[in-house]
Each structure stands twice: as C-alpha cells, then as structure tokens.
C-alpha cells in the first residue's frame, strides 16, 4: 500500500464532518429506501433490470448502431468512439465551429471520467456545472466524493466559504439561503450559454431515446435553453427497448434517494425547437472507453448492469467511514473500484481494492445484482498475477501451503508468545506489530490444539459419523469451541471424526489474491475430508464453511482447473454450518433442549458469511431462544465487526472504528452476553470488549449451547 493512500485514509478518518455526515446518512438511508420500496417487489424489479442490461451488454455493437440510426432519423447527430480523447476533440471542434463561448453542464459522470472541464478551460471556454453539488465541487476545485451526492463531505460552513471566496463575499452558512444564492447565480448562466452538456441515465436503441433524471431541474434547462445540446453517454446506458425504461426508473430513485420518482424525468428522442424557433442541434456521443472489453470478460460483464444508484456506497461499512475521496476521482465505493480498474487502469485500483472488507452487505441491495465483493476479489487476483506477490507474502504462503510446517510453527508460537501473554490474551506486541493489538486484545495460541485434545474425548461409537472441519482459529486458538461441538453432536448419537490432514481453508490466500495457494489448500482439504465416508462435514467457522461450500469451486474456476471439480462439488454438498446442522437435529427430535430454563439476556451478532452467503441468520437465533435466552437485538446486528481475516491487520485504522461502532450497539442492548457463530468475530469482538474492560462476554453459539441439551 502506498503511503499516499494510507495518508488519504488518515485524513478522511480525522475529518469528523465527513464521518459524521456519512454515518448519519447511512442510517437514514436504509429507512427511506425501505419505505420507498413498500409495495414493490425488489427481486422482480432487479430481475427485469438485469435481463434488460445483460441483453444489452451482450450486443452493444448492434444496439449502438441501432441507436445511432434511430436517433439520426429523428434529427440527432450521433458520434461513436472508444477513445476519451476523441470525445473531447469532437466537443471542442464543435464548440469552435459554432462559436461557443459559454457552456452549462448538468451532471455527467462520463464527462468527469474523461476530465472534460479541464479541456474546456484549456481552450478558453467558460464551463459551469449546474447540479448544485457538482457546482460546489467545481468551485472548491475538488472531485466528487459520492456518485449521487457529490458534496456530501462538505458542511454548510465550508460551502458558504467556497461561495464567498469564489463567487461573492459574505455568504452565510444557511442552507436555504445558499440554495437561493446558487439559483440566482446560475440562472443567468443557463440563459446565456450556447451549449448545454448532459449525461443520460438510459439510452434506448429502438427509439433513439435518452432518459435523464434530475431533482433540481437543471437538466431540463440545460437541454432547453442553449442552442446546442450535447449528451455524453457511456454505451453501458444502452437498453434495447422502451419497455426497459420502467424497471430502471422504478429502482433508480428509490435506491438512490428513497424517492418514488425524481422531480424530473426527461425523455429526449430527437430534435426539438430552440427558444427562437430554430431547430436545436442535438449531438449524442456514445462513448466506449473499455466498456465493450468489459462486456467480453465473462466475470466483469455483470458490472455493466450498474445503474449508478450508489446503494453500494451508502450501505458499505467502509465507505461510511472514509467517504469517496479515498477511492479515487470519479467513480467511488465498491463499484467505483471496479469501474476505475477498467475505465482508468488496473494499476489505479491496486490500493483501493483493498478497502473492500468483503462483508457482502451491498450484494442483496444492488438493483443490478452485481456481486461487488466477488469482482473485487477477482481484481485482487489479477493484480497479483500482473505484478506478483510481495516477498513477505510469498514467504507466508510457502508456510501455509505446507501443513506440517505451518502447524508446527503454530505450536512453537504457543510457547514463544509467553512474554506477551496475560491469561488468554496477548495484550502487547512488539513495535510494528503493535497496531494489531492497539484496538483489541489478541487471543493467545492455545497450549494444545484441538487436533490433540479431541482425541482424548470419549465419544460414543456410532455408525453415524460427521467429519469436523475446525479451521485454524478453532484448532489452534479456541479448541474449547470444537470440544463443545463434539459434546453437542454426541448427544444426538453422532460420532465426530477429525481428519488430521485438514489444513487452512485457503480463505486468507484467496482474499489476498493468491489463488494458486488457495487452490493447493483446497486440494489438500478435499483429500483429507473426502477420505472418510460421512454424510456431513460440519464447521463452526462460516468463512471455512463458505470455502468448503463455494470457494473451492470458485477458485478452481478462476484458475481454469477442472480436474478436482467433481470432488469440490461432492464436498460442497456435504458441507454444513454448525447452527444449521444442530437446528435440523432439534427439528428432527434428535436433540432436545432442556426445558423451562430462564437464561440471561443476550444479543446476537450476524457474521457476514453466515448471514449473506450461507443465509443462516435464523437457526442460531431459534436455538438460543429455545434454550431459554432472552434475545435483545442490537442495531445493525448484521453489520460487519471489522475483522475480516487479515483486513484488520492491513487496515487497522478502518477495522478499529468499525469495531467501535459494533461494541457501542452491543452495549446499548443491555445484554450481558453477545453471541455469534464465527471464531473470527469472537476474536475481534471479545478482544475489543477485553481492551475496554467491559464485563460483557462474547462467545460462539456452540459455547452458549454446550450444556443446554438433554
């Protein structure tokens, strides 16, 4: 990571206006979005959007030709190019020919992508943004920090200062007055401009229609008053038919701002008269700039289904901390990372791809059904392929890929950690490693791993066996979780076997783009876990379960290796998480919870992978309540705790405030215990509570339930 990047994170985190504004917004956003979707079936709407956009991106060339033909038949001039330089040249030439001196713009991200304003300024042409947020940004010489609300990082005081310095002295930080001021100052610019530039939200091939949505009404003025209208449209805005407009118009305002519809929607399909009655020049630039390359990439094609609603920014636990500027210049947030990698260059996404904590919160809320975390992982993988893994990482992976060496090192750690250990925590680490313990205590490596202790448990011999996949954390730090699991399954008459050859699930390597390493981990585990004849392979770590169920397959796919695919699928069918398995056993009457217990009040934290990939948020809650616990839900129970494997080591400055927020909501419930299903989350949350000296206890569901069965 570059120091410049680390610095930009520092700056963002120390800007209380930014973190305050974004934090409040992200909370209000969820409520208004949900309200706007009342009575609408989101899944149906997004299926329609995906159908329309996926169809379009599989035949951009055809639709672009069709669009051109239809729009030109109705009086527009359509210019197609893949090169951003040519876009600028076309517009500058046009401006020169037509004697254009003043330009007004309504919001166009495509124009920002190609830095059009700079080109105008160089050519001595006056250009003004008219979207209020964009105008503020322009005056402040900044770049937008959010795709829908470009100036969300600025306070009214800052806006007043910018207006006073750049436009007219003496502006007060009073929002209605600032808005009135903007209206008054921009009005003459609309009236005097010779050229109006807009973007478009949708471009319909069959009719040559551009659909433009705004709330302020500036796009209507920009497309009405100046004698020349230029629309800059990325080809990913193309859809085939007029009927494709409605699902996008249903989702975009609801997802972007919680509105049923924006104040204005303009559908422009051809030449209209100017205010003096002469025919208005309408120029439409269909810009490619790597979009059709993207469409040809089987993995990234889906990113073209984006409707730029910014939901993935608004719900992102990282974005709400650092805001858009850390992400780059034009497109921000998770989707921005992907678009930057393609529209700009892969290299530019090197640092920012690391911001995604892989929590998956954005996935079910994206109207374009884009799996952003998956695509960001793929970027990470490609970056590693392109520039290679760092020496340090290589050394680590060499160890992880050698199970014996890896495990013996962990055993050594159990001894060498002594100087730093107090009880079951490591509270200080020397020098540069101290970042790791700054905001939470780290668990000490257990004196004896589960792979040793499990052999000492006397289990009933049973024909019914399950294999236990422990994962590194339970095996080496929290063996008691594994022991509890054995105890519970034994009560159902099931014998738990522990295949000794099991090794790291490969998630750490995979999440760092080291797919070869992850692939080797997958092969080793397949061999170990499929050697025994069992119905289920159970795991009490959701990240591991996801690896067994999905990631092995995905990793092989990305690597283009198919030889072990059948085994990976066999394992996928057998893999099951602890809570789901136990709930099933309870429902089948094979496990019975002790009755009539009134147990302490608890709160439950949803681990990202359990909730969003394995979709098991209910089984642990049911079990805990059936056991007799009162469940008091915390605010944002399914928001990431900030752990995410090595993320908390690489970006502790982001991980720490995410954890802080989590702890706050846990404390607010008044529960004495917070329960979760992931040893990684236990490590993070328990470590955070310990560091604060809080009496609240954090534990895994398996521990909470260990003695609750008859």
């Amino acid at each position: 990571m570059t120091t410049q990047f680390k610095d930009s994170i520092e700056t963002a985190l120390h800007n209380p206006n930014l973190t305050g504004a974004l934090g409040r917004f992200s909370e209000a956003y969820r409520v208004s979005r949900a309200k706007a979707y009342e009575g609408i079936d989101f899944e149906t709407v997004r299926d329609e959007i995906v159908a329309a956009k996926a169809d379009a991106s599989s035949r951009f060339e055809e639709l672009a030709q069709q669009f051109k033909q239809n729009a030109e038949a109705r009086g527009a001039k359509v210019f197609r190019t893949s090169d951003p330089e040519q876009v600028k040249q076309y517009i500058l030439d046009l401006a020169r020919e037509q004697g254009v001196q003043r330009v007004v713009k309504s919001k166009s991200m495509a124009s920002e992508e190609i830095h059009l304003n700079k080109a105008f300024e160089k050519a001595g042409i006056e250009v003004d943004e008219t979207d209020l947020g964009e105008w503020i940004i322009q005056l402040a010489h900044q770049t937008p920090s959010h795709m829908v609300m470009p100036a969300i990082h600025m306070t009214k005081e800052e806006v007043a200062t910018v207006f006073s310095q750049e436009v007219e002295e003496g502006q007060m930080p009073d929002i209605p007055k600032l808005v009135k001021f903007a209206r008054a100052k921009l009005r003459p610019k609309f009236l005097q401009a010779d050229m109006g530039i807009t973007g478009a939200n949708i471009a319909v091939a069959e009719s040559g229609t551009l659909v433009i949505v705004t709330n302020e009404g500036n796009a209507r003025l920009v497309s009405t008053l100046p004698r020349i209208h230029v629309a800059i449209v990325g080809i990913e805005k193309l859809v085939a038919q007029v009927k494709d407009i409605t699902p996008i118009l249903t989702a975009l305002p609801r997802s972007a701002t919680g509105q049923l519809l924006t104040s204005y929607v303009s559908m422009i399909s051809g030449q209209v008269p100017n205010t003096d009655g002469s025919p208005k020049q309408l120029h439409i630039i269909l810009m490619d700039n790597h979009r059709s390359d993207m469409a040809k990439d089987p993995m990234f094609k889906e990113a073209l289904q984006c409707i730029r609603c910014a939901t993935c920014l608004n719900v992102c636990p990282v974005f709400r901390l650092v805001g858009g500027h850390v992400f780059g210049k034009t497109y921000t947030g998770g989707i921005g990372t992907i678009l930057t990698a393609w529209f700009d260059e892969l290299k530019k996404a090197d640092d920012i791809q690391g911001l995604c904590i892989q929590c998956g919160t954005c996935v079910p809320m994206c109207p374009g059904k884009i799996d952003i975390p998956k695509l960001i992982l793929e970027l990470r993988r490609r970056i590693v392929v392109e520039k290679g893994q760092s020496m340090g990482m290589k050394a680590i992976y060499a160890v992880v890929n050698n199970r014996r060496l890896f495990h013996s090192m962990l055993r050594v750690a159990a001894v060498t950690q002594k100087p730093f250990k107090q009880g079951r925590f490591i509270r200080h680490l020397p020098l540069f490693l101290s970042d790791m313990t700054e905001f939470r205590s780290l668990p000490a490596v257990a004196p004896r791993p589960l792979r040793d202790t499990i052999k000492e448990i006397e289990q009933p011999k049973s024909p019914e066996k399950v294999a236990f996949y422990a994962g590194c954390l339970i095996d080496f730090c929290y063996p008691e979780m594994g022991e509890s699991l054995v105890k519970i399954l034994n009560k159902a008459g099931i014998e738990v076997i522990f295949p000794d050859e099991q090794t790291c699930c490969g998630a750490p390597a995979r999440y760092n783009g080291a797919y070869e390493v992850a692939g080797q981990n997958a092969r080793d585990n397949l061999k170990a876990l499929l050697a025994t004849d069992v119905k289920h392979v159970v795991s009490a770590c959701p990240t591991c379960t996801v690896a067994l169920k999905h990631d092995f397959i995905e990793t092989f796919k990305s690597l283009g290796e198919s030889d072990a695919m059948a085994q990976a699928e066999e394992l996928s069918a057998k893999a099951i998480d602890f809570a789901t398995l136990v709930k099933k056993l309870v429902d089948e009457g094979r496990l019975t919870l002790k009755e009539g217990e009134t147990l302490e009040k608890i709160t439950y934290h949803d681990s990202c992978h359990l909730k969003r990939t394995l979709k098991a948020s209910q089984p642990p809650r049911d079990l805990l309540q059936q056991a007799g616990h009162e469940l008091s839900e915390m605010y944002e129970c399914d928001t990431c705790c900030g752990m995410a494997g090595s993320y908390s080591l690489k970006l502790p400055e982001i991980s720490a405030p995410i954890l802080e927020r989590k702890l706050k909501f846990i404390k607010e419930t008044g529960a004495t215990k917070v329960v979760m299903d992931c040893p990684g989350c236990v490590m993070q949350i328990r470590g955070g509570l310990d560091k604060e000296g809080s009496p609240i206890h954090a534990e895994h569901t398996v521990e909470t339930l260990a003695n609750r069965f008859k």
Partner: protein, 185 residues
C-alpha cells in the same frame, strides 16, 4: 377514477405539490383567477401561459382582461421574468403523483421551468395507474421530448437537507378538473 385521483393527490402532496380538484372548468377558472390575483401577478411580475384546450376561447379573453400581466405569448425572456407559468399537462400517474406531457414544443418547457411557480392543469380522467400506462399514450418512439414532473424542484446536496426550489419552480400547483375533456396527445 376517484381512487386514482386520491392516490395521485396523496403522492403528489407527499412531495410538496399543492393539489386542487374542481368539478367544472368554471370553478377551476375562478380559482386560477383568484390565485393569480393573490400572488400579485401584474405587468411587472407577470404570468405566462402555454396554450392548452382549457385556456382557450372566451375564458382566455376573460382572464386576460382581469389579470393584467398574464400573457399567452411565451418567450424565453417573458418566462424568465414571470412569477407564474401555467400549462396544461397530458397525463397523471397515480402511483407516484407525477405529471407527464409531450413537451416537444419549447413553450411548454419554458413556462414550467423558469418561473418560480408552476400551475399545472390536468383532466381528472387523465390520471392513469403507472408509468407503463402513460408510455403507451405518450410514446418515446414518436415524441421527441417527453417531460415527467413530480413535485417542485428540489435538492439535498448541502448536508442532505431537503431544500425546495433550486433551478426549477419552488411551487407546483396542480389543478385537476373533472369536466376537462383533453384532446388526446
């Protein structure tokens, strides 16, 4: 029909539009007259009206006499200096409280964008369920500029505080008239 109207009104009012309904064109004209007078429309602070079936013939002449400052000659300059713009809209959408019109004629856009108040006239029977139904009548395949208007102009670009009336009208007055027979657009 009245169900559609109620839904339309609820939605439109939820986004700060003002909705009035009248049984007859006479009543609507009377309202318009008193509204323009109350707003102090005068030759200095005028009103511009883009032609429609409603304000045509004798009603138009009558209003012109009673409201000096009301002009039916729409131009950029007249619209930019007027306080009120009046136009007749083609369709309404019950689901969102939206007004839709074929706005290919520039006059229709001038009177609904530049003055701070926009008075929109609509026949009650023109309110349809949703966008899809309207797009069957106002077809982008045929019309070069279709405008959809949902409430007055708004922004939340400074600290996310909703503020009405940035570049477009700060008030949208919707006058729905039961006996207004509109010519199919």
């Amino acid at each position: 029909m009245s169900h559609s109207f109620e839904s339309f009104k609820t939605r439109a009012e939820a986004v700060s539009a003002e909705v009035h309904r009248f049984g007859t064109q006479e009543e609507a004209t009377a309202f318009l007259l008193s509204f323009l007078q109350e707003e102090g429309v005068s030759p200095q602070e005028g009103a511009v009206c883009a032609a429609g079936t409603f304000l045509d013939g004798p009603r138009k002449d009558d209003l012109k006499v009673k409201v000096p400052g009301l002009s039916f000659e729409v131009s950029q300059a007249a619209s930019a200096s007027s306080k009120v713009g009046i136009s007749q809209l083609d369709w309404g959408i019950a689901a969102t409280g939206t007004l839709v019109q074929d706005a290919s004629a520039v006059d229709k856009r001038l009177v609904s964008t530049l003055p701070p108040i926009h008075v929109a006239l609509l026949g009650t029977d023109r309110i349809l369920a949703d966008m899809n139904s309207v797009l069957e009548h106002l077809r982008p395949q045929e019309l070069n500029y279709i405008s959809c208007i949902t409430g007055p102009s708004r922004t939340a670009d400074i600290e996310r505080v909703l503020t009405i009336g940035v570049h477009g009208p700060e008030r949208l007055i919707i006058v729905v008239v039961d006996d207004l027979q509109q010519v199919m657009a």
